[in-house]
């Protein structure tokens, strides 16, 4: 079939299930010790340095990486289990998650050896926070419009310009930034951008807070004024960053965090409706559980196919498109289903707080890391329409 879509039936291996028990025991201890409250969206992804160090000590950051860089050389399906259990529990993984998911793999592939030896072990110990410098005031979905400029100078580059919507820039030790090193060519407007490793302590870099609509400070504007990047901080080919979109992107698109970000409102809905819901409540829960199971089976399958060396590019994009739309729609559907629930006041209060938070963060889910519109274009290309 020309439009063949393939999902291998991947089940998690026994080693991953054993790991799941360890992860659950660890999270139960952390919850009992008061590190964080479970099923609480407002702290999910939060920043907790001590917690990240304890996760690192368990060997659960950069766990697929080579041992010489501090990794455990475990499989991507084992990493999958750690990611999903942390996400469902709403564990505060903000310090290490970006580095674990995408910055570390980029360094592994493109950074010089001495930088890998320096930074990767610190990431795996939960000591090193990364942010991603892609969007700019006039360059969001259209990454190739980036204007922040890196100009060649003695021994390195001088960077000038502004990145924006940079999550965790105020906490980050490093950024992986996309800067313009040459103008685009007539033939290829994607030409001329280069990836850099940016030490956030560099003179000339300022992170200014931007509060999101919930009132929180998560993302930032990052201003570069003659900030110096040494030559060995260039990642990959100069002017050729556009070629570097690789299998890491498929992992990033298809992971469990792409449909589990508001899962706590479904869990709390089941709590509020009780053990004998009315017909409407039962049907609503049943449909949502069927949709969740489907998304997870798709996501596990894509990760298994990647682990097996296949390239499920179309399938990975579909997981992110459908997963983010689902997690975005979840608060509204849960709100409808809970409308007539007679819960105890204490139960109801906690539920409503969770729902309010999920409702407010829902809009970002189909924007961050590639909008629905961009993903649909990628899927259309996969169907041969572009």
């Amino acid at each position: 079939m020309s439009t063949a879509i393939q999902f291998d039936q991947v089940r998690l291996p026994a080693a991953a299930e054993e790991l799941r028990r360890e992860v659950r025991a660890f999270l139960a201890e952390e919850i009992a010790a008061g590190t964080f409250a479970p099923f609480n969206g407002s702290i999910s992804g939060g920043f907790n340095a001590e917690f990240s160090r304890r996760v690192g000590a368990k060997g659960w950051i950069g766990m697929t990486w080579p041992k010489k860089y501090g990794g455990q050389e475990r499989s991507f399906l084992e990493r999958y289990v750690v990611t999903e259990e942390f996400r469902v529990a709403s564990a505060p993984v903000g310090l290490h998650f970006t580095a674990d998911r995408q910055s570390g793999p980029i360094l592994l592939r493109y950074a010089p050896e001495h930088i890998k030896m320096d930074i990767l072990p610190r990431i795996t110990r939960g000591e090193c926070c990364f942010c991603i410098g892609m969007s700019e005031p006039n360059s969001g979905s259209d990454l190739f419009a980036a204007q922040t400029k890196a100009t060649k100078t003695e021994g390195g580059w001088l960077v000038n310009g502004t990145k924006v919507w940079t999550s965790n820039a105020h906490n980050a030790d490093y950024m992986i930034g996309l800067f313009r090193t040459s103008p685009p060519t007539k033939e290829n407007r994607r030409h001329g951008l280069t990836s850099f490793l940016v030490d956030m302590k560099t003179k000339g870099i300022t992170a200014n807070p931007i509060r999101n609509l919930t009132g929180r400070h998560e993302f930032n504007e990052v201003v570069f004024e003659d900030a110096f990047m040494p030559d060995d901080h260039v990642l990959g080919q100069i002017d050729g960053a556009w070629k570097q979109a690789t299998s890491e992107l498929a992992y990033e698109r298809s992971g469990p965090e792409r449909f589990l970000e508001t899962i706590y409102v479904l869990v709390e809905l089941v709590r509020v409706l009780g053990d004998k819901p009315d017909l409407r409540g039962a049907e609503g829960i049943g449909r949502l559980v069927a949709q969740l199971h489907t998304l997870r089976r798709m996501s596990v399958s894509v990760n298994g196919m990647l682990q097996a060396g296949k390239e499920p590019v179309l399938e990975g994009s579909i997981v992110k498109d459908m997963g983010t739309l689902w997690e975005q729609s979840l608060p509204a559907r849960v709100r409808d289903l809970a409308a007539f629930a007679k819960a105890s006041p204490s139960n109801r209060e906690s539920f409503e707080q969770q729902l309010a938070y999920a409702t407010m963060i829902a809009p970002k889910l189909t924007i961050q890391g590639g909008t629905t519109e961009v993903l649909r274009g990628i899927i259309a290309r996969g169907l041969g329409l572009r």
């Binding site: 999902f7 519109e373 649909r376 274009g377």
Partner: protein, 356 residues
């Protein structure tokens, strides 16, 4: 479900038979049903209708996964031939240890309520509504009882009173009444969950057929968008059309993944336990939703031509709409699944999902 569904011999064979003997446009033009006999004969010669019956019970003894691959391919062509019904009947007979007869079979009931009883002297009583292809079947496999034990009865179709009707796809869909109808053979089946064996295997089979039909609908709509010109461009170059097709690809992907997952579960274990229930219920719910959403997009992309009787698209979409309703609708399965999840409690929700 084999990892490479498109490479297996059984897939090749099934694909070739339908391609040679059931071309959708030829069938659309056909004035009578004379195409049916040679098609059924070819399917029987390949051992496909009794694929789920072991050799010693008169079948061809293929794997459960192979049988689901056959259903996916059959779904791609959406040909009104009782292949799925005979496969399902054979699966029930095999599990009950009853030898399978040759020829066309169907099963009853095809609703979640049940309503048939088995009395003394192996007499079956009750009425089953909407039974597909009962008017063409030589035998009917009736499932009686509820709860954790079911009885499986093999009956000659002539023992039942069959009133022929039509599904919205125009396929035979009958009311079947049993009045002290004596069975040829009777066996027992156990399930550990609150859905009967015929509902579980029937829903899993329909989900896989629908996934196959969605594959074809996506292929047909994509191909049409690449050739149809409007406003001096191929319509597939318009972003609005591209996004609709991307959504159709998503619905098709979801259907393939969850129907494949249910099939994989039934192939990997024989116990009809909680994991089978979760997988099959989810598959019938989610694929049923995909059938509705996907058929709508496939039609929108095709415009008026897809709304004609002579176009092949309606062969797929009308069966998607019809198959959704058989062996439990999305709503019915969702109530069963939702009640089970609620009874187990909020903190068990994630462990249940993660165990699959």
């Amino acid at each position: 479900m084999s990892e490479a569904a498109d490479d297996s011999i059984v897939v090749d064979t099934t694909t070739r038979i339908f391609k040679d003997l059931a071309d959708p446009l030829e069938l659309n033009k056909a004035k009578d049903e004379s195409w049916k006999a040679p098609l059924w004969q070819a399917l029987e010669e390949a051992g496909l209708p009794l694929a789920w019956v072991p050799d010693e019970l008169g079948g061809s003894g293929a794997s459960i996964g192979d049988g689901f691959d056959v259903l996916r391919v059959a779904g791609r062509s959406a040909t009104p031939v009782p292949l799925a019904e005979t496969l399902i009947a054979g699966w029930l007979l095999a599990r009950a240890g009853i030898a399978a007869p040759a020829g066309i079979m169907t099963v009853a009931p095809v609703t979640l309520e049940g309503g048939l009883t088995l009395g003394t002297g192996n007499a079956v009583n009750g009425v089953a509504m909407g039974v597909p292809f009962a008017s063409e079947a030589g035998h009917i496999v009736a499932v009686a009882g509820s709860g954790k034990r079911s009885s499986v009865a093999l009956l000659e179709a002539k023992r039942a009173r069959i009133s022929k009707g039509q599904s919205l796809a125009g396929d035979a869909k009958c009311e079947v009444a049993f009045e002290n109808a004596s069975a040829v053979a009777v066996g027992e089946l156990e399930t550990a969950v609150g859905a009967s064996p015929v509902a579980l295997i029937g829903a899993a089979a329909r989900a896989m057929q629908m996934a196959g039909a969605l594959e074809s609908a996506l292929e047909m709509a994509t191909a049409y968008a690449k050739e149809r010109i409007a406003f001096e461009r191929k319509i597939g170059q318009f972003q609005a059309v591209q996004h609709n097709l991307a959504k159709l690809a998503g619905e098709t992907a979801a259907a393939l993944a969850v129907a494949g997952s249910a099939a994989d579960t039934l192939a990997a274990q024989s116990a009809l336990d909680d994991s089978v229930f979760l997988e099959v219920a989810s598959a019938k719910i989610r694929v049923g939703e995909a059938a509705g959403a996907g058929a709508a997009i496939a039609h929108q992309v095709h415009g008026a031509i897809g709304f004609t009787l002579e176009h092949a698209l309606q062969r797929l979409t009308r069966r998607l709409w019809a198959w959704r309703d058989e062996f439990g609708t999305e709503s019915e399965w969702a109530v069963l699944l939702g009640n089970k999840i609620a009874a187990e409690g909020a903190d068990q929700l994630w462990p249940t999902i993660a165990a699959r």
